[in-house]
């Protein structure tokens, strides 16, 4: 089966910023969280994948078809949701959905109705009168009702207040958890996707610095305290170190390896502690993983 998406040598440049070259692919049925700080290139990647923006170089395939506007069949397999989803503003949500339904062979009016009910979304209201939260919900309803094989979610809850955001996400996650969906979810807030993602890819300064299954991250990353006299050595797998006298603490992307290295160096009181995914993400996005890779 063809990957849900594959990009090869993808490059997109703007003044002061360059994305890529990016080589990525996503297998069907996987939920991939695309994590990165603001300005790291997440949205640009999404736009290149969905054909909203033409890359400067590289190839993009979605569900086995090249992203080519002249042959638009690939678009029926893909839906993108952003936090500024455009609609016919003076039409109701229902009218907008009816319009979209004409173009998607796999469109399900039943799904649309059920989702709207689940979201408690009034489809009779004109889009221009919808709150930001309800607009976001309408965008998600429209995307899922089209029956896409790949769902691209580009910070769909950006700009929403915490209560509405939680409301939207909890329903969205329930929906995604219950089905066999392929999702590429971009966000800078890990808690948005942490519970749902099978894998996480971290984007820093236009480059994917790490992509791993969530389970591997949680299993391998450790915060390790130790006691060691003398100079601070370069520790295998360490992405961050701090010392206070003989007491030290290090963050490792391979806890077992680092602990073994510390043992070889004669360190005492070596205590590896599991890390939460949020803490791991912060260290990766701060650039720590670059340091570790360089040392390795």
């Amino acid at each position: 089966m063809a990957p849900a998406f594959r990009c090869t040598g993808l490059i997109k440049s703007y003044p002061g910023f360059r994305l890529g070259p990016l080589d990525m692919e996503l297998e069907p049925g996987v939920v991939l969280g695309f994590i990165g700080p603001n300005g790291s290139g997440k949205t640009t990647t999404m736009r290149c994948l969905s054909g909203l923006v033409r890359p400067d170089a590289g190839d993009v395939e979605l569900c086995g078809r090249a992203v080519d506007h002249a042959d638009p069949h690939w678009k029926a397999d893909v839906a993108i949701v952003t936090h500024r989803q455009p609609f016919y503003e003076n039409w109701s949500g229902a009218r907008n959905l009816a319009f979209l339904a004409k173009f998607y062979p796999a469109w399900s009016a039943d799904t649309a109705a059920a989702l709207a009910q689940r979201f408690d979304l009034a489809l009779g209201t004109r889009v221009r009168n919808l709150s930001r939260g309800n607009r976001a919900k309408l965008g998600i309803v429209a995307a899922l009702a089209a029956g896409p094989r790949l769902l691209l979610l580009d910070e769909p809850t950006a700009g929403l207040d915490p209560v509405v955001r939680d409301d939207v996400l909890s329903v969205l996650f329930d929906l995604l958890e219950s089905g066999d969906r392929t999702v590429f979810y971009s966000t800078h807030i890990l808690s948005d996707i942490g519970r749902l993602a099978d894998e996480l890819a971290f984007l820093v300064d236009g480059q994917v610095v790490l992509r791993q299954p969530v389970d591997d991250l949680v299993e391998n990353w450790r915060s390790i305290t130790f006691r060691l006299s003398g100079e601070q050595p370069e520790l295998t797998g360490a992405v961050y170190c701090e010392r206070s006298g003989d007491d030290g603490r290090t963050i490792s992307c391979d806890g077992d390896l680092t602990a073994a290295h510390l043992g070889e160096l004669g360190a005492e009181h070596i205590r590896p502690t599991p890390m939460g995914i949020d803490e791991i993400a912060v260290h990766i996005m701060k650039g720590g993983y670059h340091v570790a890779a360089d040392q390795g």
Binding site: V53, R54, P72, W74, V78, P86, Y88
Partner: protein, 220 residues
């Protein structure tokens, strides 16, 4: 493609109906009044329906931009040349309708009609203006920003044309003044309007094929 055109026309139907069936007959009446009660040059005011029809579709163009219609529609599984053709035809249709209604009203009032010339010059101008703007957007990413751009631009253009008209008809070029002051009817049988329409068609059709070459459909 027809669904896109139909959607756009339905979406704008209230404004279009008012502009085509109220404003254009009113304009015909106003021009009839001018011809009866003033000594204004017939030649210049013959072009007024073209401005009227352009104002009719300007609202559509502005709304499309404000609501980021390109961004909205580009994700649909429809080829870009069909999107571009739908975009163009959804403007040409009300433009032509506005001209037709005007001519009917004018014929009813004064029996004077130059539908063929008016159509050729008007549609040619409209295609030339809109097609040129589309080409700039598609090939050079020159995207006008902000609301009211088209209407403001049209107003400025109309004022500029008026200024040029006054200057030229009172300046040292009597031949040019005679040409400008010539009523539309005097162009009948000449190749000028047909050439103008042809040029507009070339630019308009070209813009259909350049739409797929855009670097971005975001309309941010």
């Amino acid at each position: 493609m027809w669904q896109l055109i139909r959607a756009e026309l339905e979406y704008q139907q209230r404004v279009l109906l008012a502009a085509i069936f109220v404003a254009m007959p009113a304009l015909a009446g106003f021009m009839f009044y001018l011809a009866q009660h003033t000594t204004l040059s017939v030649g210049f005011i013959d072009y007024m329906p073209i401005f009227g029809a352009w104002a009719t579709v300007s609202h559509m163009v502005d709304t499309r931009r404000l609501e980021r219609r390109d961004r909205q529609l580009i994700v649909l599984p429809v080829a870009t040349h069909k999107l571009a053709l739908a975009r163009l035809l959804s403007l040409v249709a009300p433009f032509v309708a506005a001209l037709v209604v005007f001519v009917v009203a004018r014929t009813f009032l004064s029996g004077q009609t130059h539908l063929d010339v008016l159509f050729e010059v008007g549609v040619g101008l409209m295609l030339l203006l809109y097609g040129s703007q589309s080409l700039l957007e598609d090939l050079l990413s020159l995207t006008p920003k902000g609301s009211g751009y088209i209407i403001a631009g049209t107003t400025c253009a109309a004022i500029a044309v008026l200024g040029a008209y006054v200057y030229l008809t009172h300046g040292p070029w009597p031949v040019l003044a005679r040409f400008i002051n010539a009523p539309l009817g005097s162009m009948k049988g000449t190749v000028g309007p047909a050439c103008f329409l042809l040029l507009g068609l070339v630019v308009g059709v070209t813009s259909v094929f350049t739409y797929g070459r855009r670097k971005s459909y975001l309309q941010a």
